[in-house]
Symmetry: C2
Subunit: 210 residues, 2 copies
């Protein structure tokens, strides 16, 4: 299809498609003559993914570019690609709080042991989790232990579904990586969104009077 049709199919304006092409968010089409370029279903699909990363996931164009580059790097073994894709969508700003992190780090290690998880020190979630636990420690008067334990149980449920999703891809590398990226970025938004809805439900039960 021509670029005009790609724009119609994807709902993305032509000027924006050209911008994505320049920024490496979208792979080039196939040149069929000096003035014509053909696009196909892979371009429609990629545009859906790019819009989801930017509009729903809230990633910057630069950050989305890194994710796309990781997806398109075919030299890496699958396990490493999954970890890169996962890491590149984990835009945590960690280690910035002035509070003491030692106790929080120990608490996280204990939580991981209780869950029976095998997690490497470089996991992108670790530093962020430590930041949160350290802040909880710092805010006296509330015991966050049950929330932390529930969050771990919830994370485990979702992660198991995440991996089942990757397995659906049946070893097709491109599909696996796309699934990790969409599942991770959109899954984050989905969990947080559904948490808001479940919070309203439980708050209504607990405080019916308003």
């Amino acid at each position: 299809m021509r670029m005009g049709q790609l724009s119609e199919r994807s709902g993305v304006p032509i000027a924006t498609i050209k911008y994505y092409l320049r920024e490496g968010l979208l792979h080039a089409g196939r040149r069929t003559s000096r003035t014509q370029t053909e696009y196909d279903e892979t371009h429609v699909r990629r545009l859906t993914l790019v819009r989801a990363l930017l509009d729903i996931g809230g990633l910057s164009v630069a950050h989305a570019g890194e994710v796309i580059a990781a997806m398109d790097d075919e030299s890496a073994p699958v396990n490493q690609v999954l970890s890169t894709a996962q890491q590149s969508v984990s835009g945590f700003t960690a280690g910035s709080t002035p509070v003491d992190r030692q106790a929080a780090e120990t608490a996280l290690d204990e939580l991981v042991a209780r869950q029976g998880w095998q997690v490497s020190p470089g996991n992108p979630g670790r530093a962020a989790a430590i930041d949160v636990l350290a802040t909880f420690d710092h805010l006296d008067g509330v015991d966050y232990a049950d929330l932390v334990q529930s969050a771990a149980a919830a994370a485990d449920i979702v992660a198991e579904a995440d991996l089942a999703l990757v397995q659906q891809a049946g070893g097709r590398r491109e599909q696996m990586v796309e699934t990790v990226v969409t599942g991770t970025v959109l899954g984050d938004v989905l969990i947080v969104a559904l948490r808001r809805m479940a919070q309203e439900h439980h708050a209504r039960k607990q405080y019916p009077q308003g």
Copy 2:
């Protein structure tokens, strides 16, 4: 305590404290003479919260200011304050995808019914959840139904713990609202962070060869 000591206790530089005072993120101290102002434990605690919103939650100063204003508005009934606090930390960018949302909206309503949740149409999570489901629909070849169901189960577990946390505050309004804000903003980061860790664990089990 004087501002110098507040800075030491909180780990926040004096210039930054002055900035937060100007922006309304921190309440004023008590003027004890023409040149001296006294700060207390409420200021230390508020600074911890502000840094958590900005550094860990990733909120903008303007957005954090809205959250603080909602926390400090003592005229509203508790249920409404909880909903405002929850809403003000839900920085979703919804409705921006060009894909068809009707089927996704129906699917979300069915999910809510299956969960037995009572959720109002204006819930801040709804539009974001619809966006995600619509994008999942649009990406053929992968069946996201189990992930969505798992995310709902996970959200329910966490939301129940969220409300138990609010209950700990025992009806003290300020404590309740602070708990909702920290629990929601930091809880979001925590769930996402722990999901990364659990993903690594399940990926290692599923793809041990690398």
